[in-house]
């Protein structure tokens, strides 16, 4: 008996095979890109959708959760009126739209013409810059990422040139337009922040409420020496959506990288983040807040690799779980041999507002160097009754007291967002969520 023998393909896996066979000749990109696709699909096909016996996917059994593979999304229609991402209304940013998996300049609103910033369609970028090797950032060995590489339909490459510091955030909005029913989209984005440059990068995910569309997105971010990146991911997916997002970050020396993952939407969301510190003297903060209700399932999985010494990483995730929702946090800090003087700390807290909600926290440390400071902490629990009573004894009704306490709980991490406008927008979204309970 060979334990590696694959069982019968699921309906979704069969549909993915058929879709790849049908689309492989029409998907964009030639030569090296086409070879990359073929290779990725071959790898995916051998393993299939990740399931509960794959340790990294233990809590998000994609084989069970993804019953069918939706057809590839068609072209976007005309841009609807209003802001592309209502949650970010009021945030002064340059907007780039990726609709149904393809870059849509007509939906974008990129006002500033900064010579230090360039945004081009992904496959044009790959054709123009054969020197850039796609898929070299960490996380590319993940089965969901293979699937993105096999089907990637479009996206952008954003480059911030050496020393440039665009004044406003750059917002990449992933939108599913839902014009022709449920479908799948596979956007891929490359972001290169050159040495000494600075960028506030916002990604947002949204789509229609009642449509069970699927998103498999991937972003690769290369941060040069001395560069500074504030990265905020806003998950406002439609209530029936399934989304898997893979982020791979390669951090240079003396750089600073901050990431904040905010999630309120989606039926099933897997947000996986792979960060590799490859140059000494860098700092990273990977934070997040999830507010879930109903039967939502949101999985934040992090792998932070310290390949060199003298770097500091902080991970702080908070989740508020109501209804029968399921919040998952898996965080792994890897300290490679010789990565001495690494300072890594991870903290995760779940606040359970209902008896049926579930929180799974899995922090892990893999340390192969001996002169390091690493630690992790995880808590899960209900609202403190003593606190609730104190607030109520002052005249604050139960719901309002809970809202105030939840706001304070979430606020502690949201306040870490440097950009004031984004911080306020997300706090407002959290308040709206609380108001809708």
């Amino acid at each position: 008996m060979n334990a590696e023998v694959r069982s019968m393909k699921t309906a979704a896996e069969q549909a993915l095979s058929a879709a790849f066979a049908a689309a492989r000749d029409t998907l964009p990109g030639k030569g090296a890109v086409a070879a990359l696709r073929e290779d990725a699909f071959k790898r995916f096909d051998a393993k299939g959708l990740p399931h509960r016996r794959v340790e990294e996917w233990k809590y998000t059994d994609l084989r069970a959760l993804m019953r069918e593979a939706k057809p590839l999304a068609g072209p976007a229609g005309a841009k609807p009126k209003g802001d592309i991402e209502p949650v970010l209304t009021g945030v002064d940013a340059n907007h780039t739209a990726i609709v149904n998996g393809r870059y849509e300049p007509a939906w974008s609103d990129f006002k500033d013409n900064d010579p230090g910033v360039s945004i081009v369609e992904l496959f044009k970028f790959l054709a123009d810059e054969p020197g850039y090797r796609l898929g070299e950032t960490p996380g590319s060995g993940d089965p969901a990422h293979w699937l993105n590489t096999a089907f990637m339909s479009g996206g952008v490459a954003l480059r911030v040139r050496r020393g440039a510091a665009p004044a406003k955030p750059i917002h990449i909005a992933y939108v599913f337009s839902g014009d022709a029913g449920a479908a799948a989209m596979y956007p891929r984005v490359v972001v290169i922040v050159e040495a000494g440059a600075q960028l506030t990068l916002i990604e947002s995910f949204s789509g229609p409420e009642g449509v069970d569309y699927q998103v498999n997105s991937a972003l690769e971010l290369v941060i040069g020496d001395g560069a500074r990146v504030d990265h905020i991911k806003v998950g406002c997916d439609g209530g029936a959506a399934l989304r898997v997002s893979t982020l791979g970050v390669a951090v240079g020396a003396k750089a600073n990288y901050k990431n904040f993952a905010f999630a309120v939407g989606g039926a099933v969301v897997r947000n996986q983040t792979f960060v590799r510190f490859g140059g000494e003297g860098s700092e990273g903060a990977i934070d997040g807040a999830s507010l879930l209700k109903g039967r939502q399932h949101v999985d934040n999985t992090l792998v932070i690799s310290h390949a060199v010494g003298h770097c500091m990483s902080r991970e702080r995730f908070k989740s508020v779980l109501d209804g029968e929702s399921h919040g998952i946090f898996q965080g792994k800090i890897i300290v490679e041999p010789h990565a001495q003087k690494t300072d890594g700390k991870m903290m995760t807290r779940a606040l359970l507002l209902s008896d049926e909600a579930e929180a799974d926290n899995k922090p892990e440390l893999e340390i192969f160097a001996d002169d390091v400071v690493c630690g992790h902490g995880a808590t899960a629990g209900a609202l403190d009754e003593g606190l609730r009573f104190y607030l109520m004894s002052r005249g604050i009704p139960a719901k309002e007291a809970e809202a105030l306490l939840v706001q304070a709980f979430i606020g502690e991490v949201v306040e870490e967002i440097a950009h004031e406008g984004v911080r306020d927008a997300l706090m407002f979204a959290a308040l709206k969520w609380l108001g809708s309970r």
């Binding site: 104190y390 002052r394 005249g395 009704p397 139960a398 502690e412």
Partner: protein, 277 residues
């Protein structure tokens, strides 16, 4: 300005409350009738009967375990305090079926023996949320921000609470004395009709005790009653009560004037242990 014609009777919405107070002149503010309370199946209050008149400051003294703090929590409406018999009437109406926030809106305030730390909620935000929630429940208009700020600033100054403390999260990192002063600040801002002070003197040095007592004394008025719970006579030198009740084994065993407190200081509580048994 010799004449006070047209001067408001009470601060804005308090007019309605004043009228109500005048109408119910014959009813005591608080009547506790034969109250029996269990906590985790343990009987703590055992037929407690007590009346607090309008404007009265009543001290409740008693040994540890006599049920003083339980009484405070039951009045404020804490969960898991089961009333098995008896009633608590405010203005002649039972409050036992009311949630803590409804009781607060009716004018009940508890100054906690151990004030809770509320991380992430600034004291100012907390005060404004509480005050406006109470006013909303009573059908009164919300306070404007400048009006509210003025009120808090004036009171906090008198209590020696600096503005920096008001911006900090409620009680987080406060010293024991600061926490107690913060309780009195909340009381001053919320203007309750019945304030229950649960061992407000515990953990205070003499200077802090003076500041807190002065804060409490400033709030004494014909419209406000207070229950001052204390183990020691010391506090009552600063907050001089109208009446003193002695509790033992879950009921009031003796009542008298302020001199009763001094008497107790000399004789101790041992005599009551026998009486209640």
């Amino acid at each position: 300005m010799a004449l006070a014609v047209g001067q408001p009777l009470g601060r804005d919405g308090n007019l309605n409350r004043l009228i109500q107070v005048c109408e119910d002149e014959d009813v005591a503010l608080l009547e506790i009738k034969n109250l029996h309370v269990e906590v985790e199946d343990k009987k703590i209050l055992n037929g407690l009967t007590l009346t607090i008149e309008k404007g009265q400051v009543a001290a409740i003294m008693g040994p540890n375990g006599s049920g003083k703090s339980t009484l405070a929590y039951v009045l404020a409406g804490k969960d898991n305090y089961h009333v098995t018999e008896g009633d608590v009437l405010l203005d002649g109406k039972s409050i036992l079926g009311m949630a803590p926030d409804e009781r607060a809106a009716k004018g009940v305030f508890l100054a906690f023996q151990y004030p809770v730390e509320v991380p992430g909620v600034a004291t100012m935000t907390f005060l404004r949320t509480a005050l406006n929630a109470q006013r909303k429940t009573r059908g009164e208009p919300e306070f404007s921000t400048p009006e509210f700020m003025k009120r808090v600033r004036e009171t906090s100054k008198l209590l020696g609470i600096d503005q920096e403390m008001l911006r900090r999260a409620v009680n987080v990192g406060f010293s024991g004395g600061e926490k107690k002063r913060n309780e009195i600040l909340q009381m001053a801002v919320l203007e309750p009709r019945l304030a229950v002070l649960d061992e407000t003197d515990s953990g205070l040095d003499i200077d802090a005790l003076k500041i807190v007592s002065e804060g409490v004394n400033r709030l004494r008025s014909p419209e406000r009653s207070m229950i001052v719970i204390t183990h020691y006579q010391r506090l009552l030198e600063y907050i001089v009560p109208d009446v003193v009740h002695v509790m033992a084994k879950g009921r009031v065993v003796k009542s008298g004037g302020k001199e009763l407190a001094l008497e107790l200081e000399a004789t101790g509580y041992a005599q009551f242990a026998d009486e209640a048994a």
